[in-house]
Symmetry: C2
Subunit: 495 residues, 2 copies
Amino acid sequence: MLPEPMDSTTPISGHCSVNVVNVEEDPSFVIPPSPSPTTIKASTSHESPRSPGLRSVDIRKASFGSGKGCVIQSTSGVQYIDCVSKDVLLGHANLKIMETTNQQTLSSNVGLLHTNTAELTRRLVSLLPAPLTACFFVNSYSEANDLALTMAACYTGSEEVICLEKADHGKTSTCLKISRDRSPHFGKCRVLNTVPIPDSYRGKIREGEFPVDDIGWMYSGDVKEVCHNIVSESRKVGAFICEPIIHQAGHISLPDRYLTEVYRCVQSHQGILISDETYSGLGRTGDFTWGFQKYDVIPDIVTIGKGLANGHPLAAVVTSKEIAKKITSIVSYYNFLGDPISCAIALSVLEQLDETKVLENVRKVGKYLLLKLSQFSERFDFVGQVRGQGLSLALDLVHSDSREPNTVAAQFVRQKMFERQVVVELSGFHRSIIGLSPPLVLTMQEAMSVALKMSEVLQEAEKVFGRKRQKSDDENTDDCFPKGHISNHPKRMRR
Amino acid sequence: MLPEPMDSTTPISGHCSVNVVNVEEDPSFVIPPSPSPTTIKASTSHESPRSPGLRSVDIRKASFGSGKGCVIQSTSGVQYIDCVSKDVLLGHANLKIMETTNQQTLSSNVGLLHTNTAELTRRLVSLLPAPLTACFFVNSYSEANDLALTMAACYTGSEEVICLEKADHGKTSTCLKISRDRSPHFGKCRVLNTVPIPDSYRGKIREGEFPVDDIGWMYSGDVKEVCHNIVSESRKVGAFICEPIIHQAGHISLPDRYLTEVYRCVQSHQGILISDETYSGLGRTGDFTWGFQKYDVIPDIVTIGKGLANGHPLAAVVTSKEIAKKITSIVSYYNFLGDPISCAIALSVLEQLDETKVLENVRKVGKYLLLKLSQFSERFDFVGQVRGQGLSLALDLVHSDSREPNTVAAQFVRQKMFERQVVVELSGFHRSIIGLSPPLVLTMQEAMSVALKMSEVLQEAEKVFGRKRQKSDDENTDDCFPKGHISNHPKRMRR
């Protein structure tokens, strides 16, 4: 006898309304055979080809079978530019990785050390500053952040966590408790102290209202206040965790001076600093290997997501020997060796990041896309801030002449982009932000295609979501891009 | 400024004293090149060949590079029979799986449905009884059990968990709190109610002292008492979680009637029943696909470990549509799609389990090994109960003429087996139990070799750990196996 389910909670995420896989009732589970991947070639021409009837495909019902580079193919044979596979750093069907995979014969780490684990540790540690020399391998960013929080709690003896509101650090029950999706259902065991996201576009301290150089420092006051409160109540600071680019909350880069100030404060209270590099690590920004390096700080624990193995289930936690010793006195190290195949793939990823011109590509293509997309915030009144670093890009959609999140417009744009064979993501607490996080190997031609199609879609969206306004000369020309002024600081461009 | 670490806790597990990987200080991280896997062929002859100098290799410092079937090869080129890779159901370097892997071109699920996920769901659901039709894919047994507990808490509105003492359900912080390794460091947020393991060998209710048929029913009284206490304090029963074969605590099979009684009680209190099939699922017992089937019960949630994908990072949670709906109203279903490559491997695993004679092999080889090993409990006074089902086998080592766990003897036996090229595991809270959990494709020849080498090692161990006793005629013969009586109920054989 099972009880009736409790009242359904309002879904937090736009995804939530989708039913779970239920083969008994869902006729969509009759899967057509997957076309041969060798036939894949994405359309990147400016003709914006659309298959007849393609418009009727709902992105939420799409199913994919194969891919190559930044192009993925649906089971019905349509090819799309993939701007959502943030973990597939080096693209789908990467030849070197496929060769590597095929050479591996050991299917588990047999609870003992595998050569790949040892070699990967050596490579990874060489990419991080001292004293980050102890590596633990797990299977996902959820497990990585969960382990990092456990490490911090073990080391400090305090479960007090300071984290940013609306951030996403994973799906284990502990991660959910400190994450965007947290809800009363998950309880509040871990002592949680949230601080506002240092969002200079929509937050309480905004660019334009305060000096740009002081915004990070001003936001850091929230963390200082929390630390002060914890200590004044005779409690103890445990850990501070955040992403250098807050991905799920809308690709928000931390303002300058924020991390420097926060780290200084938390360290002075003997707290542990965790940098969640799931999204910002391994070249996403184009400039640095890790997101925290931009801010001239060194965390105590770094967590690395599935990008480490090009999307395969491998994640890592790197910390100091001192912190590592504490956790291994309680949990066996042999639980954290990673599986040999994923470790081999990770070695190939690090080698390719090092030897090929991937980071140069991220800088070049990312800069181009940001310039192109930034123009839309001047051209369309429902496009708010356009922001980004490297190949992390976002268009913040708003209700005209405000900064109110425009969820419906974002869903419209995502679906229309899908119909034009580009898959983009929705982010932000209200899922009102169009995000682009393609593999780092996105070509210039693909980027041009994405920009063009975005322009077409936004024009279409304007008829529904834009305030009626006088057309400028620019918009009457055949060129779908306005010839207006391009800001010298595109990532700070606002309407 | 970081604080000094707190006083080191006594390691709970024998593994714990091993330092984490630290490439700066550990000279053992100079890895020799891995030999070609094609040269691998394990010695299964009765000559027990040993490389000169092999004895000096400490199992804790061994490193492995390749494998084939049930044989793994160390980086120094020595081949071992692998009796620990419980998740590598179909053996290392399984050809069909390697072919499957190589055909996959999509490196992540791009947050949308992949054909492999849909097909795997259909196959998996067909192996489970109604109403278990909703599948969620995660990366590890830790994530699976973590998600199952979250599901139960969401559905019942209660975080009260009833679990067995000393069980192991994973390494996320929540799993640690309900697991064998739990410690004060992890806090006690989740309301935990532990009951004793229904261990008829070393527990409070033992075979020989009580009627065998009543032992399970008697142990179920502990759960009934906990449920009664929860309700009488106006709290609410949340979930009961256990493994049908309690692996880490020493390969203990639940006694008959235990689960039937426990399930009836927990269901009457509207609690959720979770069967952790990480170890017992997918053919380990030889008789059933799932461990719970032996007891004629149907759980509300089944968790499946990495065996699903032959050791690759894929795990699953299967539940009813009703329970699934509750969790997907809070967390996006798209987080639980699995990666396409692991899903493809899982499809191959299920196909091979279905079409080949793997389960028949488990029954045949498992029965033979159990018979052979069972004789040691009569022959050596430091070998207590020998128990098992299918290819889950354990020798419980004790201090002579008692049931006190003999940790030192177990470590000795494990190391000596390693020197004879067989890798076995240590289990039990005191790590005093020698466990065998080989891939399900262990051949009869390999099993014969394992039994022979175990006999040799136990003879060697007897000189150190056995009580001096008169030799029987059997032991004076050349045949290293005694010719004594073989019990008709080997799995119940006791000293």
